[in-house]
Structure formats: C-alpha cells, structure tokens
Symmetry: C2
Subunit: 162 residues, 2 copies
Amino acid sequence: MAKTKRLLTLLIRLIALGATLAASIIMATSRETGSFFSVSYEAKYTDTPAFKYFVIANGVVSVYGFLVLFLPSESMLWRLVVALDAVFTMLLTSGISAALAIAYVGKKGNSQAGWLPICGQVPKYCDKVTGALASGFVGVITYNMLLLYSIHTLFNPLVHKA
Amino acid sequence: MAKTKRLLTLLIRLIALGATLAASIIMATSRETGSFFSVSYEAKYTDTPAFKYFVIANGVVSVYGFLVLFLPSESMLWRLVVALDAVFTMLLTSGISAALAIAYVGKKGNSQAGWLPICGQVPKYCDKVTGALASGFVGVITYNMLLLYSIHTLFNPLVHKA
C-alpha cells in the first residue's frame, strides 16, 4: 500500500517535472521575425519581463523537481519537502498568472489603453507561447495536487509513513 | 502558550483580512478621466481583465478570512482550514501576479509590442492601482506566512493543539 503510493507520487512528480521543463524550454525557444507597420522586428520572450519570469520560475522548479526524485524514501527531509512544495507551487502559480495576463493582451489587445494585439503579426510566436502556457498549466495543476495531497496525508500521521 | 499562539494567529488573520479588503476596495474605486491624443476616456479597473481578477480574488479571500475569524478554536474544521488557506493563498498569489504584470506594462510600456505606458495620461489612476497592489502584497505575504506556519505546526502533533 505504502509502496503503491510512493510509486504514484513519483509518477506525478515525473509528470510535473516534464511539464515545467517543457514549459521553460518552449517559452525560451519561442521567437519569430515579424513586421509591424513595415518595420521588421524579432519577437522573443526576453522582450516581456513576465515571460522571462515564467521561464525562470519553471526552470527553478524543474531543478527542484529533479533533485527531489533522488531523495531516499526514508529521509527526514520529506517533511521539509511539503513546505518547499508550497513555496515552489506559489512560484509556479505566480509565473503562469503573470505570463497569462500578458499573453491575453498580446492576443486580444486592450483598446482602452491603446494596446494593439500582436498575434496577427507573429502567429507562430503566439502559438509557441500558447504551448508553453499550456505545458506550464499542467505543471501548476500537478504541483497543486501534490501540495493538497501532502497536506491531506499530514493530518493523519498513520498514513504518512512513506 | 497555546493561548498566545491563538491570539497571534488571530492578529495575523485580522491584518490579512484588512489588507485583502483594502486591496479589493482601492482597486475597485480607482478611476480617472484622462485624455489620450485629445480623446477623453475614463480609466477604470474593469478595462483590464487582470485587475478585475485581482478585485475578485481579494474579495473572495476577504469573505473567507472574515468567516474563519468566527470559527471556534475547538472546531475540527481547523484541519480543513490549512487546505483552504493553501487554495486561497494560490488565488491571491495568482491575482497579484497577473495585476502586477499588467501594471508594469501600464507604467513602463513594452516598446517591442508597441504598447505605450499610460501612467502619464492618468497619474492618479496609476497611484491608486499602485496602492491596491501594495495592499494586496501585504495580504499575499501574510497568507503565505500563515500557510507555512500551519504546515510547520502540522509536523509536530503536540504543538498543534490550538
């Protein structure tokens, strides 16, 4: 029983690692040269602080997720991992929220502020950003599930013998 | 000792409630009529989906924070409160991240995307949004502290007798 749970948690952590790593890489490699009022320019993630933050957040959480995989199951550090999960889940949530807010303006624009949508000029860039956000979303959901599950098991000390 | 901790937690929850409530109200009442290329328009929070989300997130968490104040200290529901704290802290974190990302564009603009800063046209609106974000930041920090403290106490069942 405890072994099945451990394997399940490991599987979820692997999915989360894959998702955050993919989100970080897809966003970091998204670039397209478009023209805007006949001025040629290259759209890339470093133009937007929110996208940079997204790449950094997902990169940092990927490193953390990778290291946790090698933690022996008897280690006392697992208790610290719940608190670390909470902190890194916050970081991921924050990163995707900021990136989503900016991506929404890029897609729809904001007529009151006079900000025009840019997806018409650089459609492939927009598609890649959308892909990165979707992957990041999977990462956020899995980390939130892990966190709530950890909090749940902590309530019952008999269950928490993994 | 347990009583001091209970009072301290109550105090922190009151601060968090005040901060989220203030953030929600300041953002919701922020509006200013400015002119943009001689076209008069009114800047208000409903123009920006991220600011609407910020108001809703802070409003919802305020209601939750208010209700929790009336939970009797012997209640078994306190165990559920840790999980609810985690969920609502995520909501707050997400709300302020999205609002900050947009507010940054409003303040600095984004030259690559051709989005101009709007704070020059509506300085008072910008000041109010900044105030709301500062207040929201206090709320996010206090809720994160509460969550990490709850996770910390859960590790030691002897401490968790509040």
